[in-house]
């Protein structure tokens, strides 16, 4: 065994005496992708039986590191020790045979099959050559009892909630004999209640002697459940600390590299007249099923109405219907006294509605256009950017320089292709475009998804600046914290309906969480659930 490495370890993690105390040690892991150093000599020490958080902003290299541990990609250099033994992990099956299991952000389940069938898939018990379903069910029940992970083995995956599907994924890894579980941002898709339940499960697993690596960027979750934290930033480890010896501010500083303001400065609202109204709106999704089911809302000038909800409950369809990208089946959208139902995106924009889209690469930007061209995406045919059908490059460039300065877009030049910018700067380009051209109303979806704390702070303050100028806004976000800190009122969406509308200062995260899971504010449950 290499002695220098042992010394290294003792310096970097003093609570560990010997290599054999560790479930996992990753030493000097370096992984380069074209143009990016995703992992730069990363050392990771995970003690046996602990819940170990890896935190960092998007692009910090957390997932890349875990993919190397799970054998999905190979490191350029570095070594991995499992239970003190150096091993080579060339594929997920190597990882599985070494007792490593991974639950990905996107579940890998077969929807029409049952829970039991999914769990045993690939390692099915057989009687002769025939799949032994009863044995599979028995195994699953035994496993589920052992780890207190309650599932019904006979229901189909497509009929159960996201939280339940996640349990199935965890059971799947346990069925394969996992001793070390990697959970990649497991809470991103869960309601607050489901998150609590997941934490219970994690505690249980820990008591049973399992080791868990928990990837997240939510610091409150780190504080709530983990024993030890490794912080990553730009491919490097920037901090190692016991959870009980730290606090969210310190972690945030290590993640971002500077002090950050986690709170925004929200002034008391000044509401004007009613600027936007939705009456009994019905919209279908791509599968032609009702995604928005009879929603009614009102928004005033200078007001931010936040839409909270778990992803996939009709928020995207609502936004697309308002902005003209999706047909309204029934109901009305009224803006500034005009009925704008089923107007074209262009007409709606001309009327004065801005749209910060939730999917910046699919809808928000043309990545092969330079920054300057992206700024004029909705105004390219208006003066001063065009003149008798010709683009006025001087006007376009002047405006681009102005917006780059005003919105602090970090770029060497306005001629850089937008695709070459980082996510945060791409989002600033969108926000600059949408906010600059004096809208009367703005639909803002997921404005800070995947951004670092610095960019989040900047964009939140821009949103509030717009509100204080008297612009009404509909804000859709999966981040409850964002909804709470920005909104003047919060509407909670569940399966295409509004469960209730509350004021952030008069409610709690728990109340909103219950509504996100389908309980109406007045206490009743959704009619067609009973």
């Amino acid at each position: 065994m290499d002695i220098t490495k042992n010394i290294d370890m003792k310096v970097e993690r003093q609570d560990i005496k010997t290599l054999s105390e560790c479930k996992v040690v990753m030493m000097g892991i370096t992984k380069r992708f074209p143009g990016v150093l995703a992992n730069d000599h990363v050392n990771l020490y995970v003690k046996r039986g602990e819940i170990h958080a890896i935190v960092g902003e998007n692009g910090a290299g957390k997932t890349t590191l875990m993919k190397q541990l799970y054998g999905l990609i190979k490191p350029d250099s570095g070594t991995i020790y499992i239970d003190g033994k150096q091993i080579a992990i060339n594929s997920p099956s190597d990882a599985i045979s070494n007792g490593i299991g991974m639950v990905h952000q996107h579940f890998m389940l077969v929807p029409p099959l049952t829970v039991a069938e999914n769990i045993v898939l690939g390692m099915e018990p057989v009687k002769g050559i025939i799949f032994d379903l009863n044995k599979a069910r028995e195994d699953v029940e035994k496993l589920s009892k052992k780890y207190a992970l309650h599932v019904d083995p006979d229901v189909k995956i497509e009929d159960i909630s996201v939280g339940m599907q996640q349990r199935v994924e965890i059971l799947k890894t346990l069925y394969r004999g996992a001793d070390l579980l990697i959970l990649d941002e497991p809470t991103a898709v869960l309601t607050p209640q489901e998150t609590e339940e997941l934490f219970e499960v994690m505690k249980n697993l820990k008591e049973q002697g399992k080791t868990i690596i928990f990837i997240t960027h939510k610091l409150n979750e780190v504080m709530a459940i983990t024993d030890y934290v490794t912080v990553m930033r730009l491919g490097k480890v920037t901090g190692r600390v016991k959870t009980k010896d730290t606090n969210p501010n310190e972690l945030a500083r290590m993640m971002v590299g500077r002090d950050v303001l986690l709170r925004v400065n929200k002034r008391p609202p000044h509401f004007g007249k009613k600027i936007f109204e939705i009456k009994n709106l019905w919209v279908k999704d791509n599968r032609r099923l009702d995604a928005v089911r009879g929603i009614s809302l009102e928004i005033h000038e200078g007001e931010i109405l936040g839409i909270a909800g778990v992803a996939g409950n009709g928020q995207s369809e609502l936004v697309e219907a308002i902005t003209g990208l999706r047909r309204v089946e029934l109901g009305k959208i009224i803006f500034d006294g005009m009925d704008i139902t089923n107007w074209s995106p262009k007409q709606i924009r001309r009327a004065g509605i801005a749209h910060v889209t939730e999917d910046r690469l699919k809808y928000g930007l043309i990545v092969k256009y330079p920054i300057s061209y992206n700024f004029i995406l909705s105004r390219y045919d208006e003066r001063p950017f065009s003149n008798n059908g010709f683009l006025d490059l001087n006007a376009i460039n002047t405006k681009a320089d102005e917006l780059i300065r005003e919105f602090d877009v970090r770029t060497p030049s306005r001629d850089v292709l937008v695709g070459a910018l980082s996510g945060g700067n791409q989002q600033k380009v969108i926000v600059a475009r949408e906010f600059h051209f004096t809208p009367k109303f703005a639909v803002i979806a997921q404005p800070t998804r995947g951004l670092d704390i610095g960019a989040i702070e900047f964009i939140h303050n821009k949103i509030l600046e717009m509100r204080d100028k008297g612009i009404g806004m509909l804000l859709v976000s999966m981040e409850l914290e964002e909804i709470f800190s920005l909104s003047d009122r919060i509407a909670v969406m569940y399966e295409g309906e509004i469960m209730g509308i509350v004021k952030p200062e008069e409610t709690t995260v728990e109340t909103v969480g219950l509504m996100m899971a389908g309980t109406r504010l007045d206490g009743g449950h959704r009619a067609n659930d009973s």
């Binding site: 380069r32 074209p34 995106p345 262009k346 043309i366 909705s378 059908g389 683009l391």
Partner: protein
């Protein structure tokens, strides 16, 4: 001594880095490198059949640019190829794969011939523009059909333009064997167009006459360049081509631009047909297109869908075709040029592979540095 070695190593590294930057950025270098590489490989093939590649390439150059007549012949071949190349390239910029330049060229030629034959008693200044516009309109309409089908029903333009090629080809055959056949000839060709509709000739050497068609082609390339780079129409078309979702989100109509792009694409191919009839053949022939529409696909690819690039790519193909005859006289099979053409396209299509290889080398270097 170590200093000098170090210096040499530094210089080598610098050259390598510059080369890498060059390859990563420049879209012009890849086609050029592909052409040189292709000529080199073809030279090996020529060697392997016991001939001298130098002789072959000298003949090739002499045959395409060696004297005025050779030059004129190259220019005559170049004229329609620029236009079909532009046609396909314009479609590509809107994200559309127009395989129908062949049919659109036929329709443009047919329309131009009809106008050229039946418009009599007007001066050239009227007859020529009408016949040209007729060709543009017919080719454009033929392309717009595929665009409309795509916008309305989602029918893929590759399928519909292939089908429309058959329709155009069969229609052309019917016309030159029936109602539009030159009287009393029994050969599948139309009557000759009136003198007023013929494009003015710039130079004539023996039987080869170069009309102003080449000027029309070059002007078309400049106009397409300006439209794509400097106008709102170009902004819309490219936006739809790069990312239709974002275009729609920004208020650009996808349906309108798909139809428009297919119209313009078809119109350019139609113009190619019109120029062939009015400037070269002076009548409509059933076999007039002869693969020029399909050549447009290769040319657009070699020219990287850039109008200026298309002009040079078309020049390459035209020169290879013209020069190959001279090569044949020198005892080297003219099919060698098909190998060259094929290799050029192959290398450009595998541009990504080449880039990856370069990046891989670069990475290895950097790892070694560490």
């Amino acid at each position: 001594m170590g200093d000098i070695e170090q210096m040499i190593r530094d210089i080598k590294k610098k050259i390598f880095k510059t080369a890498v930057e060059f390859f990563k950025r420049d879209t012009f270098v890849i086609p050029l490198a592909s052409i040189i590489l292709s000529l080199f490989i073809a030279a090996l093939v020529i060697l392997s059949i016991g001939k001298n590649p130098l002789v072959a390439y000298t003949a090739l150059i002499r045959g395409s640019f060696g004297n005025v007549q050779a030059f004129i012949t190259t220019m005559i071949k170049l004229t329609p190829l620029i236009l079909t190349g532009l046609s396909v390239a314009f479609g590509f910029r809107a994200g559309l794969f127009n395989i129908g330049a062949e049919g659109q060229l036929t329709m443009g030629a047919l329309a131009a011939a009809l106008f050229g034959v039946y418009i009599v008693g007007v001066p050239a200044i009227v007859a020529i523009p009408i016949a040209i516009l007729g060709g543009i309109a017919a080719g454009g309409a033929w392309g717009a059909i595929a665009g409309y089908l795509k916008a309305e029903t989602g029918a893929h333009e590759v399928i519909s333009t292939i089908m429309l090629n058959y329709v155009a080809s069969l229609l052309a055959n019917f016309m030159v064997n029936g109602p539009f056949q030159a009287v009393g000839t029994g050969i599948p060709k139309s009557p000759e167009i009136t003198d007023a509709a013929k494009l003015p000739i710039m130079i004539s050497v023996q039987a080869s006459s170069l009309s102003i068609g080449i000027i029309i082609s070059l002007i078309a390339a400049i106009i397409v360049y300006i439209v794509l780079q400097r106008t709102t129409v170009g902004y819309e078309i490219k936006a739809v081509g790069f990312n239709p979702y974002a275009a729609e989100y920004g208020g650009i109509s996808i349906a309108k631009n798909v139809v428009l792009a297919m119209f313009v694409s078809g119109a350019l191919a139609g113009l190619a047909g019109a120029v062939e009839v009015l400037g070269l053949h002076h009548r409509f022939l059933g076999t007039l297109s002869a693969g020029k529409g399909f050549d447009g696909i290769s040319i657009a690819l070699i020219g990287q869908n850039n109008p200026i690039g298309v002009v040079f790519a078309a020049l390459l193909i035209a020169a290879l075709r013209t020069g190959s005859n001279q090569m044949q006289f020198a005892g080297i099979p003219k099919h060698i040029i098909i190998i060259v053409q094929g290799l050029v396209i192959f290398f450009i299509a595998t541009e990504r592979l080449v880039k990856t290889m370069i990046l891989w080398k670069e990475r290895k270097e950097e790892v070694l540095q560490e």
